[in-house]
Symmetry: C2
């Protein structure tokens, strides 16, 4: 395991629960590596990326996307070793100076010390050759019932859709919270509405579940909202764009 | 009960479960009124908005925001009758030709035949005078543990924050789904990520829970995403605006 951050600290124990052994943990942060090793059966904290003497078959890079190339340039593998990254957007070709390589991308957000149920997490796998692909898919399937092979193009699309639906929606929650905070209203007031909205989107389809002033083309409420946002240019811009797009999409359907 | 749509069909039974009686149901759509009456103990479907002979104390307008003024203009109340609307954005002053009036705004999205737990639903109440305010708050508290008095200004703000967090986030889900659909990927792939994202936002605060390329200022991934969106100008615009705002907000903090 190369890395000891949020993903690594969930993935390594999940792999051991599935019957694999994590032999080595490498991290630029020795304390964090030590912490992770302490959660594992018999893993050694290592300070070198030279794995030529390692008994491991698969080596997993679980670091920030930006650091993958730099880290991988320092890695030496044993014969037949497979090197994986865990990125949603990076091509596996950035590992192409190795003989066997690929990716294993778990579609989930991880927080240290916050349990997730791996069996439900979609895992997208890709390998440099057929044999490697099989090994990576098998690794994915050992920890999740929702592992499948996906091309780089599909993986990137899934990642982009995750950015829209999770990262951007989370930013909208920040916007909502900051407006409520300014008025001393507790953010948790939105919780029942949001749980129901999310449930509905999957039960009946987000396009049918849409409610609110934009889909009703309720111009007077939209004008009211823009007035409230008069001193928040950034919020106003996002409000306008999404409202326009809702009106457009729902006029077509 | 004036109206028999999504909200009315949930609110009327909830009121009866709390020990009140719904005496009359009025709706422009007689079938829908009949349906709702059949769910109530002893309510009459009425075709007139002249309630001068009614024994009811409180009259609730649960129709679309746009129709409140038109409908209320046709209503006649008995002496001391209180007239409420259920809107998140309309001022109670649109009912000011009545003696006692106010609003009761439940912050939730309702779908016919889909149960919700009323006790958890935040209800914002407002009345035209102190006595009326008390009655409306008591009505709200009888069905929910989260009913409280809120000024028009606060109610509008809560509604606006609900639009950002629920309506707009739902539209982002539509965007994500439409991209996945085009590539034959099942939308449910996003479900575990989204549940976790929502949970995290309330457990640790959306600003701290933010992940993704924008908060990491990962320009190469952002460029990649914009390239994928090259034939989707509307999606691209929203992607750019939200990404810019995430970068801005997180540079300040």
């Amino acid at each position: 395991m190369i890395g000891s951050g949020n993903l690594a600290s969930h993935l390594a124990p999940a792999l051991e629960n599935a019957g694999h052994f994590v032999n080595e943990v490498y991290s630029r942060n020795p304390n964090s590596a030590k912490n992770l090793c302490s959660m594992l059966y018999n893993a050694a904290c290592v300070s070198s990326l030279n794995f030529t003497q390692s008994k491991s078959a698969i080596f997993i890079i679980a670091v920030n996307d930006d650091a993958i190339e730099e880290v991988s340039a320092q890695i030496s593998l044993p014969p037949n070793g497979i090197l994986l990254h865990t990125s949603g957007t990076k091509s596996i070709s950035i590992l192409s100076c190795f003989e066997h390589f690929g990716s294993l991308y778990p579609l989930q957000t991880f927080t240290k010390r916050k349990k997730v149920s791996w069996e439900e997490i979609p895992i997208l796998t890709e390998g440099s050759d057929e044999e490697t692909s099989k090994h990576i898919l098998a690794l994915g399937k050992s920890i999740s019932t929702k592992a499948f092979q996906a091309s780089e193009e599909k993986r990137k699309l899934v990642h982009l859709s995750a950015v829209f639906s999770a990262n951007f929606a989370n930013h909208l929650l920040y916007m909502a919270k900051s407006m409520l905070d300014e008025n001393d209203i507790d953010f948790t007031i939105l919780q029942p509405l949001l749980s129901e909205t999310l449930k509905k989107a999957f039960e009946i389809d987000p396009i049918k579940a849409q409610t609110g002033p934009a889909v009703r083309k309720d111009i007077s409420t939209i004008r009211d909202h823009l007035k409230i946002l008069d001193n928040k240019e950034d919020f106003k811009k996002i409000y306008k764009d999404i409202t326009e797009n809702i009106i457009k999409v729902h006029s077509q359907s």
